[in-house]
């Protein structure tokens, strides 16, 4: 469900900075359905990748074979990302907060973490530079606190945010940041006026109260709440039989 919802967000011809896992699945599903001209860019240096097997890592050799270009990572970050060529960035995170800040660094304090997470990788600069950033994460109170323990990738400042209340534009960030969070129950979007994540659309069979119970702040609703269509038979067939037959990333 999350993979198909994420895939539908992508527009044919867009340039996408792809992360591993569900984002990767979503991008390849989009390429196989409505967006055959999607340009997949991986931070490892593959540009216009067309992997014939589901990449297990972001540096999988299948990303090289048949790709449009392979460049060094200095080129990926300077000539492609900082240059402004990325339309959509895809990020996951251990924590996402009210302002759309993402934490992939530590749970607890930085100096004495309860759980040490991998860190930024390319996430910080993707959230800063991609024209828009989509976030994929499962809903739970632990994953959606009022305030993340550490801002790895910046959201929308807001009260007490990493920017001390300054807007992304004032801070000099070229991209719009995390504008949409695709979860396993609903889609959240950033409210442009408040810089806060709000409930935008529900999956079939999910009520707003189910979502509120899994979010650590008083979640506001869009005035017109959307309903997300379930995956089509074609999407399901592609995901299950073609893209992830070994069920590396799909569940259920």
């Amino acid at each position: 469900m999350m993979a198909s919802v994420a895939a539908r967000e992508l527009v044919d011809g867009e340039v996408v900075f792809v992360g591993i896992g569900l984002p990767n699945l979503a991008c390849n599903l989009a390429r196989a359905t409505h967006a055959p001209h999607l340009v997949l860019v991986y931070e490892s240096g593959a540009v216009g990748a067309a992997p014939v097997r589901l990449p297990v890592s972001i540096g999988d050799p299948a990303l090289v074979t048949g790709s449009l270009m392979v460049c060094g990572m200095a080129d990926v970050f300077q000539l492609i990302l900082q240059n402004g060529r990325i339309g959509v960035g895809f990020l996951g995170g251990a924590q996402i907060d009210r302002s759309g800040n993402i934490n992939t660094t530590v749970i607890g304090t930085y100096e004495r973490p309860t759980v040490r997470l991998p860190g930024s990788g390319g996430a910080a600069e993707i959230a800063i530079h991609a024209r828009r950033t989509l976030v994929v994460a499962k809903l739970s109170p632990r994953a959606f606190p009022e305030r993340v323990d550490f801002i790895t990738s910046p959201g929308h400042g807001g009260a007490g945010g990493g920017g001390g209340g300054a807007s992304r534009r004032q801070l000099g960030m070229p991209g719009a940041g995390p504008v949409k969070v695709i979860t396993d129950k609903a889609v959240l979007e950033v409210d442009e006026a408040t810089g806060e994540l709000v409930l935008a659309a529900l999956y079939p069979g999910v009520e707003a109260s189910d979502v509120r119970a899994r979010v650590g702040w008083p979640l506001q609703c869009r005035s017109r709440l959307g309903r997300v269509e379930p995956p089509t038979a074609t999407e399901l067939r592609l995901l299950r039989d073609v893209l992830d037959p070994e069920r590396r990333y799909l569940q259920g």
């Binding site: 990303l63 990572m73 910046p154 801070l171």
Partner: protein
């Protein structure tokens, strides 16, 4: 031309700043294992992605400090020796200096260009500069814009795995290139470890594929399968099964020690390691996928 044993003995010293680069691709596990066997201590290990190789070196007690941007087991989970050290769970403490990938790339770029720092439009709104005081800012003298800066990284030695080189160290890489070129040019010394030694004529026939010229290389070592469980495009695939298995091995301190005793300290060199893994070739050897020739004529 030398052996890995001699190259490490000569160019890797206690207390050095050491880089074994390669983004998923061409990570020189053979060199990491040799450094563990020679029991180097107090190293400052730098890599974008510490990966299993630095997890093993941290567990073996080689590292005093880690400079990095993403410390996980790609597609699997955690590096548990790293986590035990950082989370203070009984392992010896490990100093960390943390950036994002772009920050690490920029550090190598500055080092390679022999500049003191590199500017980048980054880090606004993040907590990274708060915990890493070496991420600083500069006002652009042309536009007045505030830009982030990171300091040059100039390692004592970089160890670069590659598909092929000639005896002079002219080194060709294809597939994912990572930051190997920048890391090599930034370093005081460069050790190149290759799958295959080729004649200079092979290099000269396709000069655009040369990433590291022999003039910056101090030692050339031939070590087939030296990147396993990482991979070498066109030679062997990534051993994803081993990356998955590392989760359980690294989670259990004793299992990790047993691994090091059997596959690292318990073997004399890479050839002996490969003797213990005779099934690798059948499982991982790359299928042929050649590109047609390029006309370099004029």
């Amino acid at each position: 031309m030398t052996t890995l044993r001699d190259a490490v003995a000569r160019f890797v010293h206690d207390g050095d700043t050491v880089v074994i680069e390669g983004f998923t691709h061409l990570i020189c596990f053979a060199a990491g294992h040799e450094i563990i066997r020679q029991d180097r201590r107090d190293l400052t290990l730098c890599r974008l992605t510490p990966d299993l190789i630095y997890d093993q070196m941290i567990a073996a007690g080689c590292a005093r400090k880690l400079v990095f941007s993403w410390a996980g087991n790609p597609g699997v989970g955690s590096l548990h020796a790293f986590r035990r050290a950082v989370e203070g769970k009984g392992a010896p403490p490990l100093e960390i200096e943390e950036y994002s990938h772009f920050g690490m790339v920029a550090r190598f770029a500055a080092g390679a260009a022999r500049l003191p720092f590199w500017p980048l439009r980054n880090y606004m709104g993040t907590d990274l500069p708060r915990v890493n005081p070496r991420i600083r800012h500069v006002t652009c003298p042309y536009t007045g814009e505030t830009l982030a800066t990171v300091p040059a990284l100039n390692p004592d030695v970089s160890i670069i795995h590659a598909q092929r080189a000639d005896a002079q160290g002219n080194t060709q890489i294809w597939g994912l290139l990572g930051v190997q070129k920048e890391a090599a040019f930034a370093s005081a010394h460069v050790i190149v470890v290759v799958e295959e030694l080729v004649d200079e004529a092979v290099i000269r026939a396709d000069p655009n594929r040369t990433v590291i010229p022999g003039m910056i290389v101090d030692a050339v070592v031939v070590e087939p399968w030296g990147a396993h469980p990482s991979y070498a495009q066109g030679y062997y695939d990534r051993d994803n099964d081993f990356y998955v298995a590392w989760e359980a091995i690294s989670r259990d301190r004793e299992a990790l020690e047993r691994y090091l005793d059997e596959f690292v300290r318990g073997v004399s060199d890479r050839a002996a390691y490969l003797d213990k893994r005779p099934e690798l070739a059948a499982r991982l050897k790359a299928k042929a996928r050649y590109c047609p020739g390029v006309n370099y004529g004029f």
